[in-house]
């Protein structure tokens, strides 16, 4: 595992194009992310934000038509989704799915052990695991009953998103992609989720925040903000760009790009 990897490249996306059902969504997208950085990907609906998340996680319904993605120097696109996950790529889902009858804690333990196996570590024992999970649950202000409930079964929108961040906290990814983690949250839940994410910022971890609104960025200050429109990154800047987008909308970015 990486220690002291400040400034090491985590994600290098080069000229990435992808389509679904023959419709081009990503068009020659470029993005570089280094360890320790938090990048926000913003853009209007339909710009391809979720497509980018899904393609990086390996969803097969999206076809990559061109370009390359390196994850810590390794060709990410040749790996099946479970291998990407085991190497430390985590996707926080916009709509976490319910899996009735499967204990939340059971999935979490299976996920952690799959990752440990990949790293050549022994499976975590039940006692040790519960200790770890309880600690992380406090961080997310979740009570014990979450453990025995079915995965996302009957969870409110806020509970589902908190559960995603809990999983992230337990799995300790190298790259966390959080897809619209703020959608559907009231202000209290937003704070809890944002504080959770902030506490998971580390020098050897990169976070990609995919979001439509600026409000999440009030709580998590990104190092970089990118505007994803028309399937590519049209503009990049610092945290202040998010405020500008909030004030002016997105259209000016397209005009500016066209005039270049």
């Amino acid at each position: 595992m990486t220690t002291n990897t400040q400034n090491a490249a985590i994600l290098e996306i080069t000229d990435l194009s992808a389509e679904i059902n023959g419709r081009a969504i990503l068009k020659s997208l470029n993005l570089h992310v280094r360890a320790g950085e938090v990048h926000a990907i913003m853009g209007p609906n339909g710009a391809g934000k979720s497509t980018l998340s899904q393609v990086l996680a390996g969803r097969q319904s999206y076809a990559v038509t061109a370009g390359s993605v390196l994850f810590r120097g390794e060709n990410l696109l040749s790996l099946p989704p479970e291998e990407r996950a085991r190497r430390g790529l985590f996707l926080g889902f916009q709509y976490p799915v319910e899996i009735p009858g499967v204990n939340n804690v059971y999935l979490l333990k299976a996920a952690l052990n799959a990752k440990r196996k990949q790293a050549g570590l022994p499976e975590v024992d039940a006692f040790e695991f519960l200790g770890l999970v309880r600690e992380k649950m406090q961080l997310m202000q979740m009570d014990e009953s979450f453990l025995s409930r079915g995965v996302n079964e009957g969870f409110s929108g806020g509970e589902k998103k908190r559960n995603e961040i809990l999983q992230m906290a337990v799995l300790e990814p190298v790259l966390a992609i959080l897809d619209e983690t703020d959608s559907g949250l009231d202000i209290d839940a937003l704070k809890v989720v944002a504080n959770g994410v902030t506490s998971l910022r580390r020098h050897d971890r990169a976070i990609l925040l995919v979001t439509h609104y600026q409000r999440l960025l009030d709580y998590i200050t990104p190092d970089y903000v990118h505007v994803l429109m028309d399937g590519k990154i049209l503009k990049s800047g610092t945290a202040s760009l998010a405020h500008e987008l909030e004030a002016r909308g997105y259209d000016w970015v397209r005009e500016e790009a066209a005039n270049k």
Binding site: N21, R59, Q60, P81, E82, V97, I99, V102, A110, A114
Partner: protein, 482 residues
């Protein structure tokens, strides 16, 4: 579009693991069915006259009946004259008295199946009455059971030892005229299991029977009768496997349960008959009549079934709730993969006052399979305060399979409460991707999702069988998503 990056079609072809044939000299009669054959079976079993008469009466009635075709299944016509109706392993002596007398090849067969015949069985607390083709060859723990007064033996033995119980109860739940296959079974059944639990006795262990069809071209017509006398309690499990054959084999069993006042019968089935190959060739036709009667007040009958096998399953374990405050339950997981066809469900007949029934049915379809739930909830005018709750869920894996639900509800008493809930879901590409994204393998993810779906049924199974059922499910569905 495929839901995962693997080529799943390659994974679908999970081979049937119990497909071996034991080479033992069989005492098999030539194919064909007539009154002489029935007399022959009865004579071979040294049956009393009343039983022969009963068989002949059933046969004569069967000849007037038509094969039913209302089930949502399809198969070529069965030639009942081409089936051999009796096949028994040839005994070296008159019959095995102990395990040492049992043909070692037969024991090896059980070993492959994992039937716990030896000491480990006692450790597991399981008594096994093993039916090999038509004759029961070994029965364990009879002593311990008989000390408790429990009778658990092959049906043909019970005919000799307890003819009065047989005469009183046989056909009292499933009459010989009930349906085509029950009538056929009544005429030609060769063996099965018999259980009697005396008044007030709680059976000291789980009772278990493994059925297995071995000889080619033999129909298996077993007959099971379980009587729980007043205040008694018994849990019974049957597990089934059959070797691989290209031709189809007919299995038409009848199971009758009688629960008297305050008695409880829990009947669990793990059915893994050969389902045919991935092209739909071969496999067992499983046309079974199972019915329990809650005769006494506060009696209770609970059916739990995990059905993963057979080319065709046609089976509706039912409860007739006669006693006041009696309870009927049906918990079912039915899996159909490749070209399997399952038409299964239950009937709950409420006659007594304040009777209650619960139906939980989980159907899983994969490959090109069709899976139908067919259930009847009937509340008679006499059934004041009857209640039923039905939950019927279907899970589809892939796009070539089908799930159907045929609920029939007849209520003739206005005080009754009947609830029916049904869902159909596709094994989620979303669910699967979610698990993969958390690092689980495809197989682990499917097992987890399917087991979650079946959880409310599995928890009704005795512990050791719940584990077996989960394993069976994993084998049956390996790689079935595509």
């Amino acid at each position: 579009m495929a839901s995962t990056p693997h080529d799943l079609d390659n994974l679908v072809a999970q081979k049937y693991q119990h497909g071996f044939v034991t080479d033992i000299e069989s005492d098999t009669v030539p194919p064909g069915l007539d009154e002489d054959l029935i007399r022959l079976i009865s004579a071979k079993k040294k049956e009393p006259q009343f039983l022969l008469d009963w068989r002949l009466k059933s046969y004569r009635h069967w000849q007037t009946m038509q094969e039913p075709h209302w089930a949502h299944v399809r198969y070529p016509a069965i030639d009942y004259q081409s089936i051999s109706y009796y096949s028994a392993p040839k005994a070296k002596t008159d019959g095995p008295k102990t395990l040492a007398d049992v043909d070692p090849k037969l024991l090896a067969t059980y070993d492959k199946l994992g039937v716990p015949l030896h000491e480990r069985a006692r450790l597991a607390g399981v008594a096994v009455d093993a039916v090999f083709d038509s004759v029961s060859v070994a029965t364990t723990f009879k002593d311990r059971l008989s000390r408790a007064g429990v009778v658990f033996c092959p049906f043909s033995e019970a005919v000799q030892a307890h003819p009065e119980l047989i005469e009183q109860y046989l056909g009292s739940v499933v009459p010989t005229t009930d349906n085509f296959y029950a009538a056929l079974n009544s005429a030609v059944f060769t063996d099965g299991s018999f259980v009697y639990i005396p008044k007030g006795v709680r059976c000291p262990m789980e009772l278990s029977t493994y059925f297995r069809i071995n000889a080619a071209n033999t129909g298996q017509f077993e007959r099971t009768l379980i009587i729980a006398d007043e205040g008694s309690h018994v849990s019974y499990l049957e597990g089934c496997t059959a070797p691989m054959r290209d031709e189809n084999q007919l299995h038409a069993a009848v199971v009758e349960l009688v629960a008297l006042t305050d008695a409880t019968i829990k009947y669990s089935t793990v059915q893994n008959w050969y389902p045919g190959d991935e092209n739909g060739l071969g496999g067992i036709y499983n046309f079974v009549t199972k019915r329990g009667e809650c005769r006494g007040d506060r009696s209770r009958i609970s059916w739990t079934q995990v059905e993963t096998g057979s080319a065709i399953t046609w089976k509706y374990p039912s409860c007739v709730l006669l006693g006041n405050h009696s309870v009927g339950e049906f918990y079912s997981v039915a899996v159909a993969n490749h070209y399997q066809q399952a038409d299964t469900g239950t009937k709950m007949i409420h006659i007594g006052k304040n009777t209650r029934s619960t139906i939980v049915s989980k159907g899983i379809s994969a490959g090109h399979a069709n899976n139908s739930y067919r259930g009847l909830v009937k509340v008679a005018t006499s059934a004041e305060g009857a209640r039923n709750y039905t939950q019927c869920d279907s899970l589809l894996m892939g796009s070539e399979c089908g799930a159907y639900t045929f609920p029939y509800i007849e209520v003739k008493n206005p005080s009754a409460t009947v609830e029916h809930e049904a869902t159909t879901s596709k094994i989620g590409e979303d669910q699967l991707f979610y698990c993969l994204q958390r690092g689980l393998s495809q197989e682990d993810a499917i097992n987890m999702i399917v087991n979650g779906f079946c959880k409310s049924v599995f928890k009704e199974l005795p512990m050791e069988f719940a584990v077996e059922a989960q394993n069976l499910l994993a084998v049956s569905l390996e790689g079935a998503v595509g």
